[in-house]
Symmetry: C2
Subunit: 215 residues, 2 copies
DNA sequence: TAGATTGTTAATCGATTAACAATC
DNA sequence: TAGATTGTTAATCGATTAACAATC
């Protein structure tokens, strides 16, 4: 039974977990009780082998001759991803994108809890977004002292990213969700970084169209 | 010299192109003239081998003993990505996220041009976002007839995604930039899809924090 | 029990890295 | 020319797939 080896799991496997979680969650919602690796593979356009390999990195969640119990699977993957957590999260940069992230994302669904919003522009101070009052950057230190947030969402311009990131690292931040056009990975070791480069993503569509043959 | 083989290039290579494009662009902006694969590798945390392999999929952009001319390299990668294009792009769903994407993204910088915004909610019809008037979904067919857009940005709820996607495919759409929580890949072959799952991305941070040892 | 399907080992495939001859 | 650095082939590494014995 579940003997979780938390270390040495390849990044490719880890990156597939949220997708498993989504598909399993949908099946649970539909009321499906069990699924075999083969059926799930069909739904997700993967191979049964891969699914069994992936899940077995974390423990034997299935049962021979039966398959996987979906509720159990959902709960196990959720635990692996830490979804039951409420990691304190702070957002920087209340422009269009920052506001949209703050209002659009259901942080709690993903193991996080948005507890503060900052913007360098004083004119925005006090404005309410997603039920939180925007704070000026001069209040960062006091806020961190009191709240000790772990995750920073960066919706700030590229030019401001490095300096702010350094400041936040020194205040104890553990992870960055980075929407600025700056590659944080490069400079900070031991800090978790997810660079979301929306520009890179849309360029893939342009590439695809330009190089498609059915055209 | 550049003898572009446009086909049979692995997805891993293609996905690295936008990042090359960004780093090269920054160096050009700084006024740097040339760079060796080794120097670029250091900056990007890659290996020199990989960079040379990657670029050589598309042609010999470098020169022995010299390295790569940055302006030439920028232009070549730009061409490969089709950045000089203005692929007509239409956005669906003018909620928080849709509005933010419309106003925040500089589409032209990425080979696209936003030419229409639709929302199913009639109350939004006529409202202006990013210089465009929001249209009701009943005008989709007429608009496509006239404009023939190639790319659809989906910022709509999961439940509406499949139906709308089918409708747009039948109207000739070529590519989807999909922010809905629905996995389009699964259902449409021959259509280019970029699924942007922001939820998946933030969950990686939760995973990282939960499984970090320095903690 | 017989059938089904897992967990896991072994085989294959692809991607990354290393090495080096070509050449500017 | 000598030094540097590419383009490209060969070696290594890792990830995916196939196979099958274990077992529910």
């Amino acid at each position: 039974m579940p003997n979780a080896k938390k270390t040495g799991i390849s990044n490719s496997v880890i990156r597939r977990l949220p997708r498993y979680y989504r598909f399993v969650g949908e099946l649970v919602k539909k009321g499906t009780i069990r699924i075999s690796s083969g059926e799930l593979a069909d739904k997700m356009s993967l191979t049964a082998s891969q699914i069994r390999q992936d899940l077995n990195c974390f423990g034997g969640f299935g049962q021979q001759g039966y398959g996987y119990n979906l509720i159990e699977l959902q709960s196990e993957i959720g635990k692996i991803l830490g979804i039951e957590n409420r990691h304190k999260t702070v957002l920087f940069g209340a422009g269009n994108l920052g506001k949209a992230i703050a209002t659009h994302m259901n942080f709690k669904e993903y193991g996080c809890c948005l507890t503060g919003i900052f913007d360098a522009d004083e004119n925005k101070t006090g404005e309410r977004v997603a039920g939180l009052k925007i704070m000026g950057n001069e209040r960062i230190e006091a806020f961190f002292e009191k709240e000790k947030p772990l995750i920073a969402v960066l919706c700030i311009p590229k030019t401001a990213a490095q300096e702010l990131a350094d400041r936040l690292v020194s205040l104890g931040i553990k992870a960055f969700w980075n929407f600025s056009h700056y590659d944080l990975t490069v400079s900070h070791k031991n800090i978790i970084v997810e660079n979301v480069h929306l520009g890179d993503s849309i360029m893939m569509l342009s590439y695809g169209i330009v190089h498609s043959d059915f055209n």
